[in-house]
């Protein structure tokens, strides 16, 4: 192989700078011992750079490299770092080492190329908009350095603009590839997800105090967009799970019922279509309005018999799904389900007795429900985030002693009372309401909107939603949680949903984030399929590859045509003026022959147009001087004279 040119101090410094910039956001991601290793290497590099640049791995540098490599092995072995972090750290260390040993142009180019991979690893952790912008800037900087290092002559021709042109020419390709390149349905290789921290959110167990913790967070749970008119906020009960089994303390899913798939529903009522972008979380279900009829995510889960949509695995990122909800056709309550919906554990004797009392007094189940709701609406019951501890019989203690509780207390005790009164009932967890973003026309549902309510079975109506919280705090349902609780309850949401321009600004920002998530981040196999189907094509991979190949070939063909299209000769100013003069002569019938030099033409023209002989001679003389004799200093003056002479030549 040929020897490459040696690098200078400036080039070495640039390589270091681009590496530091590429690694910088990892400060937020990597554990500090791994960061320290990379920091030591980078520090060594800059120390060498300061010491009259010498990138050769001489004694100290070698020692540092040895120590660092040993330290990394030791750290990876001893420390219990996530595999992902170790992989990223190793890549960074390799890139640093390449930089440290860069002596020739070849090394510099490889170091630049590795830099792109380091930039890519940023996205393993998160992909917000600002990081996209930052990585783009870093990539352009790296490309610019590469361009200048590879060809120092390129430094004279505005490398930034040149890179811009390259990106612009590549843009059709980028768009076509991004839209059409087939995505994987399932990852080929998965790093253990144990590293993912458990995100707070609605869980599949409801116990006293579990929701009031979730509600503290202003984090976004999901965003919902309606394709038709939007339903009123008070009817937005986002159903997650139905909880059947009560052990005296907590409500849980019924392991038996969740296994069974619901037969497809033919519904004739009015439907609501909406799209939900669900943030990443540790849940294995989706949120739907009552009753979820269809979800365009069928391959990832199933509808259970309780109209929940359950996922095979927790989503490995943000997911987006279109759903349809509508009224459910009438059904019968079988005996098994009735038994489950009436089952009560041992304990809570006073509540059981109260239920039995209502069952004796009211014949109609609706009246028993009214009795319970009236009790909650009565004075001593309060809606609060800090209900205090409950003991062994939480329902009794809540109903007859503390009488202060959050929605989980109301839902839980309501369902308990209904079962005791002989009305089949179950608990539902999910979210209620949301904040309508008028900028982007969608609802933002935050963790603070987490909610629990009840569903009771009424003969002739089926499963009917009853929200006991509405009885004690109707504003919760109408306007949202921040309206109900006092301002000093320390909810993060109260800052987020503060009134005025700040809120407007928040909507604009959230809308940008939502569009970003929608069009860029959650563009996956599913969306690709939809896109192709909208174009009237088959959504399978084969068609996708065909379309992609056709579009890419089209772009390449267009590029080739542009490249190979015969281009007009580029003329210098004097050539252009001389051509103008030749055209003037041609109009007089004196066409210049291909072999004819300027002097020969002048002789012929002078003979044909004797009155212009002097002018022709002057033009020819000036032209020849400009073409073959003029010096840089005289050129401008000569050119002006020549232009004047050609312009005034009108035979």
């Amino acid at each position: 192989m040929r020897t490459s040119p040696q690098l200078g101090k400036h080039a070495y410094g640039l390589l270091g700078l681009q590496l530091v910039l590429a690694c910088l956001p990892h400060v937020l991601n990597l554990p500090w011992p791994l960061l320290l290793v990379a920091g030591v290497l980078i520090g060594t590099g800059f120390w060498r750079w300061k010491q009259a640049y010498n990138a050769l791995p001489v004694a100290q540098t070698r020692l540092v490299i040895l120590v660092v490599v040993l330290a990394t092995i030791l750290l990876a072995w001893l420390g219990s770092f996530p595999l992902e972090d170790v992989a990223v750290a190793i890549l960074i260390i390799v890139t640093c080492l390449k930089w440290l040993e860069s002596r020739q142009l070849r090394d510099a180019m490889l170091a630049s190329q590795l830099n792109f991979f380091v930039l890519l690893t940023q996205f393993l952790y998160d992909q917000p908009f600002w990081l996209g912008v930052y990585v783009t800037l870093c990539a352009v900087f790296t490309l610019r350095n590469w361009l200048i290092l590879a060809h120092p002559g390129a430094g004279r021709m505005l490398p930034g603009r040149y890179i811009g042109r390259l990106l612009l020419y590549g843009l059709p390709m980028v768009v076509a590839l991004f839209v059409l390149f087939p995505r994987l349905e399932h990852p080929i290789w998965q790093i253990s997800t144990a590293a993912q921290t458990a995100q707070s959110g609605v869980s599949d167990t409801l116990s006293p105090g579990s929701l009031s913790e979730v509600v503290q967070s202003a984090a976004i749970a999901f965003r919902a967009e309606f394709s038709g008119p939007r339903p009123p906020q008070s009817s937005l009960y986002w159903r997650g799970l139905t909880l059947w089994d009560f052990d005296g303390q907590s409500w849980r899913q019924n392991a038996f019922r969740r296994q069974y798939q619901r037969p497809p529903i033919e519904s004739s009522g009015q439907r609501t279509d909406y799209t939900i972008t669900l943030e990443q979380g540790n849940h294995r279900w989706l949120y739907l309005l009552q009753t979820g009829l269809n979800v365009q995510l069928r391959e990832r889960g199933w509808f259970s018999v309780d109209d929940e949509f359950l996922l095979f695995a927790p989503p490995d990122g943000r997911i987006r799904y279109q759903a349809t909800s509508g009224p459910r056709p009438m059904e019968r309550l079988d005996n098994l389900t009735r038994q489950l919906a009436l089952a009560l554990p041992y304990g809570n004797p006073r509540a059981t007795a109260l239920g039995a009392q209502w069952a004796a007094r009211y014949a109609a189940p609706e009246a028993r429900i009214q009795a319970a709701l009236q009790m909650f609406a009565g004075k001593p019951f309060a809606y609060t985030l800090r209900p205090g501890k409950l003991g062994d019989d939480p329902v009794d203690e809540f109903l007859f002693q503390s009488q202060k509780g959050f929605c989980e207390h109301y839902a839980s005790s309501f369902v308990f009372l209904m079962r005791a009164a002989g009305v089949p009932a179950r608990v539902v967890v999910g979210y209620l309401g949301g904040e309508y973003n008028t900028v982007g026309n969608y609802y933002i549902i935050r963790q603070a909107d987490a909610h629990a309510w009840a569903e009771v079975w009424l003969d002739g109506k089926g499963w009917t939603r009853v929200d006991p919280t509405a009885a004690v705090a109707p504003e919760r349902v109408e306007r949202g949680i921040e309206q109900v609780l006092p301002a000093d309850s320390g909810l993060a949401i109260q800052n987020t949903r503060s009134a005025g321009w700040l809120r407007e600004f928040g909507w604009i920002a959230d809308n940008l984030v939502n569009q970003w998530n929608r069009w860029v981040l959650s563009y996956d196999r599913q969306r690709q399929k939809q896109l192709l189907e909208q174009l009237g094509l088959d959504g399978d991979t084969k068609t996708m590859v065909r379309v992609m190949v056709s579009v890419l070939s089209g772009i390449i063909l267009a590029g080739m045509t542009l490249l190979l299209w015969p281009r007009k000769r580029h003329l210098s100013p004097e050539q252009r003026l001389y051509e103008q003069y030749c055209n003037t002569l041609a109009r007089k019938g004196l066409t210049r022959a291909r072999h004819e030099g300027p002097a020969d033409l002048a002789a012929r023209a002078g003979a044909a147009l004797p009155e212009h002989q002097a002018q022709i001679a002057r033009i020819t003389q000036l032209y020849l001087r400009l073409r073959y004799q003029t010096t840089v200093a005289d050129r401008q003056a000569d050119l002006q004279q020549f232009e004047a002479a050609v312009r005034s030549f009108r035979p």
Partner: protein, 320 residues
Amino acid sequence: MNDVAARLPQQLTRWLQRKRLPVDGWVKLDRKHLYILPTWQGVVFGTLLLTMLLASLNFNLSLGLMLTFALIGVALASMWMAYRNLQDVRIAVAQPQAIFAGETGVFPYRLTHDDGQMRIGVQLRHARLVSQETDLPPHQETLISLCQPQLPRGVHTAGRLSISAEFPFRLLHVWSYADLMQEVIVYPAPEQHPPPLPTAATAGAESQQTQPDDETPDQIRNYRPGDPLRSIAWKHSAKQDDLLTRYGDIYQPASSLIRWQDTPANMETEARLSRLAAWLLMAEASGHAFALSLPHTETSTAQGPAHLAHCLALLARWQG
């Protein structure tokens, strides 16, 4: 069938190596004769992009895919730019300088192009000779030379020349060929301490020689280009419009005949040529007219740089 198969590579080779001869002195690197292949760096970069693509696909990183595709876009656009960087460049030979054996031979070429774009990092190559990478500014000719040190005596022809560039990023190698047949003449190196000009050649002439004198009757003819100044008969010429020159046996100007047979027969050919070259230089330096006589060849008697160059070139071309 076999016959065709056997002939095909030969024909392919012949087609691939077809001559790119100059038209009006110039070879234009048009689109039909530009070739492009990735360099090793390009292959490495391609592998890296593939790895980045797989990583992004596996973890479904939309932004990672975007970055990868942007780099693929830049790589493809740079293919376009690399092609344009060399397209329609024209190349012609420049006047080479003759050298003495052992000096560095320089094969100069002129390059130019017709549009306003700067062409960057153009390199010439012939066999093992590689030029510097040179940028071609618009609207002017740029000289690029191939240098070969330690050339032996003879006439050296640089045949097929390859013109290449790897701008931008050195991911792709774009090249073309030109058969320009640039020639550099290498004279024999003059002997360091040569003996004086052989007396046999000069003495005979000098013994008869008297200072020419316009009164002495001699033969006179019309001046011909190349006649030495001192042989012009000024007084006779003054009487006529044309110059007259003396000639013949009566007037012998101080001139030398440098003959192959005056060098020792037991010397090696190259050494004999070196001595002849040294004598030619001595004769030219002394200001005398001289002639060179080689077996089967003899030059006229004359002087001046052109005559010296002609004689030295004869030595350079001398074979056996």
